[in-house]
Symmetry: C2
Subunit: 383 residues, 2 copies
């Protein structure tokens, strides 16, 4: 196990009816901005619950944060924060709303010049408007971590800052019952790949992290298909929701090497072709497993044994089968595992490689050995 | 899964050399009290590392916190805190030093009358001196939780307060290399039983908590014997240390029923007969598993399957074997599994039952169905 520091201070309020907890967890004298997306929260009762909980607070709202939240949209919210003297932001939505709100919170306090630099030039975030969230779509883990991914045109970039970690996160699995099948499937796959990016590297004898990662993978494999088959099962949703949070709250990633190649290539696919984030991951991950097979051999075998219960036979056959089972799980969730399934071909692969180079993504992977040439191989393998 | 709130704000500094981190994580203007136990930290280099890290701080010390920290000892430290205007306490030691320091921190600010009431009358802790710790013995989980167990004569009582959660905890597995075999074994067994008290109840379909618990149990079963066989293996110590922290930092216990019968009976055995805490647990837990077999049946079968890989045959035979394997693991760690091994008999069992009644422990267990009569049965089963 490698040395590490770990600190996750987000308070979690988990369970049905917990939206009411926001009443006592936002300072009474705060000037609150409630941020949300396209308005689904007005159909499913979440908006009403938030209004009820904020009855004794002073608050306004900013609507319209889109999936893959756009810089230009968010900057309008930043203007509102400044104009209205907002002192607290409550994000109500999925990962995009939470990520977008993290950027709003940081940009409103940013004194380093153009807030775009936070993303494009690693401009240091020294403070942010305090923020919390009510999560409506389990997937990204953004509800209790320090990261956010923001888009501007075809460019999709991330930033990290402890100042944007939500102070609290409300996780009410009941609010996820109104999600579409596609949203549920995407969320499960996103969480699954978050675990894999922190797990499928090389062994450092980090037994807690490995066991926890394997446990989350097993849960998502068990519960994901159930969420599609029996969409009204609240217990299934609860297990998916808590698994997704644990998948990217920092805990399983401490003291271990991490990869994130799948995400970096995936971001380019979303940026250029508008493919849902999770669906880029389900296409890229199996190809990364195949191309990086030797570098990841030991962990691939551990994954085969502990997640897919493959213990006997030729090692390479077990690895092949574990990859095939991963693809089958994705297919069962209704997400694509090849570029051809989203109508992309070799020409797209070249666009993505060029874009990775343009964004400085030239040494990806836990060993920094995924050059643009290896990324090309991965994309070709994913055709 | 049940509803829950979760918040663990302790910063973790994990790895060799991390004691130096305390220099920048205690306020420069603090008046620091360093608390420790019998002085082993002066032999193993920990004290010197702490001194070096505190070179630019104003600090004094309080030594002599004993195993099963005694109220009278701790009240002397409380006097020192008040007399010297201490504003920050750094505990350096194992669970007893950390627990004792939590009580010191709470008692120094207590305004409800006699500080003993914090333990004996559930007196509310409204604030405490800020505290952190350098952990030298992985076992209790006290380094990042809100609980503490304090002794006064034959009485051993606990209290819980978020005000005594360590602000940071340094976990350097290297400092555990000088522990005695008995200390290492006790620590592993203590952590193991912490997991069991939160896991072995009845199923509530809490898949993250179950998988994490099973992972920690598997780690402790794998690494515990290695720590005894190859006491110089730092990686083994690192995995034990992080497992023990995760075993009782609140995470695996959210949203699930909990038992703690083994601990409550164990505390009485320590209070009356001075048996090491972990050795009371290894005696009582197997008996609890046997006596509460029907109430815990579903989880016993899950434990048999996932922790001991028992999947076939008669259900009762699998449960019997899982309990036998648990006892064998304890025996392999060199701790007793019967009262007779620590020279106690039926008469002692009666003393313990009377003491449980005197301390109000008359409805133990996750179903509150462990009456004094059932406790007697458990103790008789443990003879």
């Amino acid at each position: 196990m490698l040395h590490f520091n770990f600190h996750n201070s987000t308070k979690i309020f988990f369970g049905e009816g917990q939206i009411a907890a926001i009443a006592n967890n936002i300072p009474q004298d705060a000037k609150v901005l409630v941020t949300y997306g396209g308005g689904s929260i007005k159909q499913n009762g979440v908006y009403d619950q938030v209004c009820a909980a904020l009855a004794n607070h002073s608050w306004t709202e900013f609507a319209g944060i889109e999936p893959n939240p756009q810089y230009d949209t968010l900057m309008k919210a930043v203007e509102q924060v400044k104009a209205q003297g907002i002192t607290y932001i409550l994000a109500v939505g999925g990962g995009s709303v939470v990520d977008g709100t993290k950027f709003i919170a940081a940009a409103a306090h940013y004194e380093g010049g153009d807030p775009w630099d936070i993303l494009a030039a690693r401009g240091k975030v020294k403070s942010a408007v305090p923020m919390s969230c009510v999560l409506t779509l389990p997937a990204t883990g953004s509800e209790s971590n320090i990261g956010a991914v923001i888009s501007r045109g075809t460019t999709k970039l991330d930033f990290l800052s402890p100042h944007v970690r939500p102070l609290f996160a409300v996780l009410d699995p009941k609010v996820t019952l109104t999600l579409s099948e596609r949203q549920v499937a995407n969320g499960v796959v996103d969480a699954f790949v978050h675990v894999m990016e922190q797990y499928l590297t090389y062994p450092v004898n980090a037994k807690v992290q490995d066991r926890f990662s394997e446990g989350l993978l097993l849960n998502l494999i068990e519960e994901g298909p159930k969420a599609l088959a029996t969409p009204g099962d609240l217990e299934v949703r609860a297990n998916i929701m808590w698994s997704a949070t644990m998948a990217l709250n920092g805990l399983i990633g401490v003291g271990v090497p991490q990869d994130w190649t799948t995400h970096m290539i995936g971001h380019e696919l979303t940026g250029h072709y508008g493919i849902d984030h999770a669906r880029t991951l389900s296409i890229v991950l199996p190809a990364v497993m195949k191309v990086q097979r030797e570098q990841k051999r030991a962990k691939l075998l551990q994954y085969a044994a502990r997640v897919w219960d493959l213990h006997e036979g030729d090692e390479d056959a077990m690895i092949d089968l574990a990859i095939a089972k991963t693809e089958a799980f994705f297919s069962q969730m209704g997400v694509p595992v090849r570029l051809s399934e989203v109508d992309l071909d070799q020409a797209a692969a070249e666009v993505i490689v060029d874009s990775l180079v343009a964004h400085g993504m030239t040494t990806l992977g836990e060993q920094r050995d995924i050059t643009p040439e290896v990324s090309r191989q991965i994309l070709q393998t994913a055709l």
